[in-house]
């Protein structure tokens, strides 16, 4: 092997690096390295002139490898690898030495910072010395997508992807699509009926020739990677054939089982066989296996007997369906923070203390009270209603640290809806701040205060309890500095938004990360807000962070655009930097098989074998192997060893 000719390009990054690192000294030191044929420093290496100079230097100096000492490889590795290719050398002989995030940004002392930057750069120069030229692996793309979650985010994403001519499978856990939005009465700031704007979307997605809707289904297992996922979906049996069901409702009349209706948040009850809403899609009844007396004609069988069309069949089995898709959008939505965590506000045990979604159902024409605001305890119209904002939000000590973003707006909306239903009633709102950023939002809140005569009290509520048939509210008005005591007929809590139940499982199944608040993590908070950290998996809606409907729809569209862009390619190029087994050292202990998060390694004939199509090059196997028998290409043991040596020298 003839000696390498490496070029080292040191970036100032304005003063981001140059303020803490003597870049000229780094360049000078690197010039002393045996394999370095050229060095250069420049104020912004990533700028057009900077990049051009790299290309030119490669050509002029016959460089065969490049080290750019600059920011994180997450940002510009691709830029400089593309440049190398433009200059006619292999892009995998280009490596980044991160002297910004890993050095200048975290240090203050320039002398020591420079010393560290030199060590980092030297270690990468030594690594590059043993880098092998490689070609990206081209893999065909499965031109189908899956959307997980059938709320407004999922529906919008599915429609947009479908409109591009790409097949979509929309998977929804519940018996109907529609999600949270379908449960709302009216929406801020225009007060249009949620179901009226939602149901056309639901119909559209259901009738879309490119969209296959799978309700009552859950994603069980995901294998593969970007471009080629294999997803196992568990489709629970509804025991009703939707094609035969005529929605006559006779089955529910004979069903003897009564359970709380989760779609009405427990305000009403339903039968074991039920339909969530009149607008449910698919328009069919569902037999709740857990509530049913046993799917056994001997025990009950009344629904089956009464069904004229023979739509009910106790023998329909749940099934697991395997779908191959190239991209996945996760739109699993939100739940409300559990009231049980807030004992001072009753912990969910005080009558007539409702959460925001229950109040939505009270206001909804399709809800328990057919659109009349009646308090649950005695079905009378409440005359004094207290709304409390930020319940569980903005409380890092005890609950969620973050702002749930939509509560200011929906509480204002609740107050207005209440006044519409009960013009002679009085609405009180306890708030910390009013956050009404958004088109038409501030005006909406102002109208709530002025037109509807809602009493906004700035302060928190310390306690709620039943008192003389009412709910006594102990709070403080911090503007007047006085304690406030209100005997309310009803209290509505604007509970924090939390990721929906099952988000942890789906994140694990898909191998995507979650943030500190347990929402699904985006790849970059500013620049990649709809991508997960795993390639080919995108995020939409409140599963990623609290957001309102317009934002959710916008994010769903953005996720769909990403999917369409990805699936428009005939092949994807995969990184060739994957694991390789040294058979002579492998003892077949199988630890790598267990450690591999991508199920890419198996044992065959007592030795480990890497499936190149599945390996992501994460290096878990290499770190686990006791015998140094498995390496990631271009990050071999020898390279790591020489990098350590360079750092210690």
């Amino acid at each position: 092997m003839s000696k390498k000719r490496t070029g080292v390009f040191v970036c100032h990054c304005g003063t981001n690096i140059a303020a803490t690192v003597d870049v000229a000294k780094v360049a000078k030191e690197m010039a002393g390295e045996n394999t370095v044929a050229f060095t250069q420093e420049y104020v912004y290496m990533c700028s057009e002139p900077g990049q051009e100079s790299v290309v030119q230097a490669i050509k002029d100096n016959k460089l065969d490898s490049v080290v750019v000492t600059c920011c994180s490889p997450n940002l510009h590795e691709k830029t400089f690898r593309d440049n190398a290719q433009r200059a006619g050398i292999n892009n995998f002989t280009v490596e980044i030495a991160n002297i910004r995030e890993q050095c200048s940004w975290v240090h203050k002392d320039k002398a020591k910072g420079t010393e560290k930057a030199i060590k980092i750069s030297r270690s990468v120069v030594r690594r590059v010395n043993r880098n092998k030229p490689m070609d990206a692996i081209a893999v065909p793309v499965t031109r189908r997508a899956m959307v997980i979650g059938g709320g407004i985010a999922g529906i919008q994403a599915a429609i947009d992807i479908g409109n591009a001519g790409i097949e979509v499978i929309l998977v929804e856990k519940q018996a109907t699509i529609g999600g949270r939005m379908l449960q709302l009465s009216e929406t801020f700031p225009t007060l249009d009926c949620a179901q009226c704007v939602m149901s056309p979307k639901m119909v559209e997605v259901n009738r879309h020739p490119k969209v296959k809707v799978m309700t009552y289904s859950e994603v069980q297992e995901v294998a593969g990677s970007v471009g080629n996922f294999r997803v196992k979906v568990f489709k629970r049996s509804t025991f009703v054939d939707p094609d035969k069901c005529k929605l006559c409702d006779e089955c529910t009349e004979v069903c003897p089982v009564v359970v709380p209706n989760e779609y009405e948040h427990g305000l009403t009850a339903r039968r074991a066989i039920y339909i969530p809403y009149a607008q449910a899609i698919p328009a069919s009844f569902t037999l709740d296996e857990d509530a049913c007396l046993g799917l056994n004609p001997v025990v009950c069988g009344k629904c089956k007997d009464v069904c004229e069309t023979g739509a009910i069949d106790y023998d329909i089995r749940s099934q697991t369906v395997t779908e191959d898709v190239g991209a996945i959008v996760v739109a699993t939505g939100f739940d409300l923070y559990d009231q049980a965590n807030i004992p001072e506000l009753g912990g969910g045990k005080i009558e007539d203390v409702l959460d925001g979604l229950q109040f939505e159902r009270l206001c909804s024409a399709s809800g328990a009270t057919h659109g009349h605001v009646l308090r649950p305890s005695d079905h009378k119209e409440p005359k004094d209603v207290v709304f409390i904002q930020c319940v569980g939000s903005r409380d890092p000590a005890k609950h969620c640290a973050y702002c749930s973003k939509i509560c200011c707006m929906y509480t204002a909306k609740h107050a207005r809806l209440y006044k519409k239903h009960c013009p002679d009633g009085r609405a009180y709102i306890f708030y910390i701040d009013i956050r009404s950023g958004g088109k038409g939002y501030e005006e909406f809140v102002q109208r709530t205060m002025e037109d509807d005569d809602t009493l906004y009290l700035r302060g928190r509520v310390s306690r709620l309890y039943r008192h003389n048939g009412k709910v006594r509210v102990h709070g403080t008005d911090t503007l007047t500095g006085q304690n406030v005591e209100i005997d309310a007929d009803m209290v509505v809590l604007a509970l924090a938004m939390v990721p929906s139940k099952g988000t942890a499982e789906i994140a694990k199944t898909l191998k995507i990360g979650r943030d500190k608040d347990l929402f699904l993590a985006e790849a970059h908070p500013k620049l990649r807000p709809v991508e997960s950290i795993t390639g080919g998996i995108y995020l939409a809606g409140a599963a990623q962070a609290p957001k309102d409907i317009p934002e959710t729809v916008a994010q769903a569209g953005a996720a769909a655009a990403k999917v369409i862009a990805l699936l428009s390619q005939a092949t994807l190029s995969r990184s060739p930097l994957i694991a390789k087994v040294r058979r002579s050292h492998c003892t077949g202990c199988g630890m790598c098989v267990e450690a591999c998060p991508f199920i890419a390694i198996r044992l065959e004939g007592g030795k480990a074998i890497v499936n190149e199509a599945l390996c992501e090059g994460c290096g878990s196997c290499s770190a686990t192997c006791l015998r140094a028998a498995i390496d990631v290409k271009n990050v071999t043991q020898l390279q790591v060893y020489e990098m350590i040596e360079a750092c210690l020298a």
Partner: protein, 343 residues
């Protein structure tokens, strides 16, 4: 109490029926009271088998040797091999099977329970014998009985037992084909990790002083590695001498072999060796204590291995050698694993 006749009968039976091609056990050694490992292949030899407090060797090492020997001869085994295994030894065998080093059906485990005692620590025994030379040792309830030139000497076992046996939590070989002796799991002679806890009670600088001395004294004879059944790699990562060249070894492999440590037995290199070994044994070491016993310069190697074992137990609820099909400590990941060290 285990009757040695039972073990001998089992060995004889296995060999007669051809159900085992050999029995790995203990026989009387040539040096005083000590037992030595024995590879029994014919019926007469079966009567040489012994079971006494000097049977400290972890015989699973010889299962590894046997596999390597067969591989060297390019032969496959025609019958299982039988082995006498104490609690700790049986756990070693389980780890080896967990790592697919051999299959369960390749080994016939003749389990022996240490019952209420364990094996003797010669270093503890010598001062108590006042210079007398013991010619044999035997179990007797909670005592060990030694025969010396001056007659029988009876000592409470716990006074002369190896630390690892005092601290042992599982003196009964759960994985076995046949087993002798009473299951006394749960017998608690000393707190688990008592020696480690005692050591850690000292301050950091005192501990560093002690370790510095030991790291200086280590002569890197590799006795600890040679006696350890878990150290079965053909090429040891710290070893730049015994580089195996096989048909699959490429010229590049030969040229690029890494010298993680230098040959000289100085402190820095010895630390690298002993620390690497401790890390490689995490979740695999079953605390048979043979490394420490074999060390000619008395480096307290168990402390290193115990430290890893305790971390694994307390942080991950992991017990090495608990089950053949179980996941391994370093390769498995659970959502419930502690992550508080990530900041």
């Amino acid at each position: 109490m285990i009757d040695i006749k039972d073990i001998r009968d089992t060995a004889r039976d296995m060999l007669t029926k051809g159900e085992a091609r050999a029995v790995i056990g203990y026989r009387r050694g040539s040096r005083g009271m000590l037992a030595e490992p024995a590879f029994i292949t014919n019926l007469e030899q079966a009567d040489e088998l012994v079971w006494d407090p000097t049977c400290f060797h972890n015989l699973s090492l010889y299962l590894v040797e046997d596999r390597k020997f067969l591989a060297h001869l390019r032969k496959t085994a025609n019958a299982p091999i039988a082995i006498v295994a104490k609690g700790c030894d049986a756990r070693s065998i389980v780890v080896l099977m967990q790592e697919h080093y051999f299959k369960r059906e390749d080994v016939y485990i003749i389990g022996v329970s240490c019952e209420g005692t364990g094996v003797v620590d010669e270093r503890k025994l010598a001062p108590l014998l006042n210079g007398a030379h013991a010619t044999s040792a035997a179990f007797d309830g909670d005592d060990f009985v030694f025969t010396t030139a001056e007659g029988e000497k009876r000592l409470p076992a716990r006074e002369v037992m190896a630390d690892r046996c005092l601290e042992c939590r599982n003196p009964f070989p759960k994985e076995h084909n046949a087993v002798f002796g009473e299951d006394k799991t749960g017998r608690q002679l000393a707190e688990p990790f008592a020696a480690l806890t005692r050591f850690e009670a000292q301050g950091n600088s005192a501990r560093w002083d002690i370790w510095s001395r030991h790291f200086d004294r280590c002569i890197r004879c590799f006795a600890c590695r040679s006696v350890c059944p878990m150290c079965y790699c053909d090429e040891c990562v710290v070893d730049s001498i015994s580089f195996p060249v096989t048909a699959e070894t490429t010229a590049e492999d030969k040229a690029n072999r890494i010298r993680w440590i230098e040959r000289s037995a100085v402190r820095s290199e010895n630390i690298t060796y002993l620390m690497t070994r401790a890390m490689h044994l995490a979740g695999r070491c079953t605390d048979c204590g043979e490394c420490e016993r074999a060390c000619p310069v008395n480096v307290p190697i168990r402390l290193l291995n115990n430290k890893m074992e305790r971390e694994a137990r307390e942080k991950f609820g992991y017990e090495p050698g608990a089950s053949i099909g179980g996941s391994s400590l370093v390769a498995s990941f659970l959502d419930s694993d502690p992550g508080d060290f990530i900041r």
